[in-house]
């Protein structure tokens, strides 16, 4: 009996230590969080927003080894403030949402940088999975922690641009991404 009691205490202590060192789990508050992209067409930038996405975030600055972001994006929810452009991007030559309605990003590794953090993760978009690095800052606040960051990707690496849109003369290959996630504790 004594041995079993000691084991229970030891397990509890181990769990408590792991709990303290492990990352906190959050989800992004959909109303307060933003996921934007900026493309260049005809030499002028245009911004788009994804109105629907979910983000599961495990993060604590002292536990980068077990940090993890998992983001699911509903591509149909894109909004570039122009219906014609939205429809074109949804269409078969760009996102082709009839076949690829969602994009998925999941991180693999995190590192501390001079100004914040960076992570490498795999983005699955248009049926293609490729690594995309992100840079971000973590702003801790009781009940309202925030992650703000940026990324760059090349649309053609994901096959986003078939037919005419393979050309980068009118729409540039590089697309900038910016995100701001307001975190609430995961249920």
């Amino acid at each position: 009996m004594m041995r079993r009691g000691a084991l229970a205490v030891a397990l509890f202590a181990a769990a408590a230590v792991a709990g303290a060192a492990g990352p906190a789990s959050y989800t992004a508050d959909p109303a307060a969080s933003r996921l934007e992209f900026t493309g260049v067409q005809e030499g002028a930038e245009f911004k788009g927003t994804f109105r629907k996405f979910t983000a599961a975030v495990d993060f604590a600055p002292e536990a980068l080894a077990s940090a993890r972001f998992d983001v699911q994006i509903d591509l149909n929810s894109l909004d570039t403030m122009d219906k014609d452009r939205d429809q074109t991007i949804r269409g078969p030559d760009l996102f082709d949402i009839a076949h690829y309605p969602t994009a998925h990003y999941v991180t693999r590794s995190f590192t501390k940088t001079a100004t914040g953090y960076s992570a490498v993760g795999a983005l699955t978009l248009h049926g293609v999975t490729k690594d995309v690095p992100i840079d971000f800052q973590f702003v801790a606040a009781a009940g309202k922690s925030k992650i703000e960051g940026t990324a760059k990707l090349k649309r053609l690496e994901f096959g986003v641009g078939q037919g005419d849109w393979k050309s980068t003369a009118e729409v540039k290959d590089e697309v900038k991404v910016a995100f701001s996630l307001v975190l609430k504790p995961a249920p």
Binding site: Q41, E42, G43, A44, R85, Q87, E170, V171
Partner: protein, 187 residues
């Protein structure tokens, strides 16, 4: 000895403004009227991209031309012209100047209203004049269209008038705007 006589010919600068802007406006009609009939897609985007860059060039040249004209009055109209012809000639020229500003400005505004910012040949982006607004876009587009027909109409009138002066009246009204020629009193 300063020459106080009014000039008998347009200066080289005035001729340059006239013919360069005329060539750009012909380009604008070709680009604009071709693009407007294309389906949404990259070719439409590309043609309108050029149309906007050329249009902003016309606006800049129109500003310079007007400033130049304030300092350098044009040669007098031939004394043989009737008062009605003078009013008609003057009204046409004023209408041209109004449209040289109204066309690019309504075009610039409609680009802003549709959230397609205007680039200048990819070198830099002009600021948006108004925010995204579909109703404003539709009104501005209709205005830009109507003005283009008015511009086309007075351009035809202008060319016919120049030819009438040259071949019918046999005065130097046409010749004095023509580079590399000499005006002679022909009547």
């Amino acid at each position: 000895m300063p020459n106080h006589d009014p000039p008998t010919r347009y200066s080289g600068v005035a001729q340059s403004f006239h013919w360069i802007i005329a060539a750009l406006i012909v380009t604008q009609f070709i680009l604009g009227w071709t693009a407007v009939d294309l389906p949404s897609g990259m070719h439409k985007l590309a043609l309108f991209g050029r149309h906007k860059s050329v249009g902003m060039t016309v606006l800049l040249l129109a500003i310079l031309r007007l400033l130049w004209r304030f300092k350098h009055p044009p040669p007098d109209l031939p004394p043989a012209m009737t008062p009605v012809e003078r009013v008609l000639a003057r009204a046409t020229h004023i209408a041209f100047y109004v449209l040289l500003f109204a066309m690019p400005i309504t075009g610039w505004m409609m680009s802003s209203a549709k959230n397609y910012s205007v680039s200048w040949f990819g070198l830099f982006t002009w600021p948006d004049l108004i925010g995204q607004n579909e109703t404003a876009f539709n009104i501005l587009k209709a205005t830009h269209d109507y003005l283009s027909f008015i511009l086309f109409g007075i351009a035809v009138l202008h060319v016919l008038a120049a030819l009438k002066h040259h071949f019918w009246n046999k005065d130097d009204v046409f010749i004095r705007m023509l580079p590399f020629t000499k005006s002679e009193k022909r009547s």
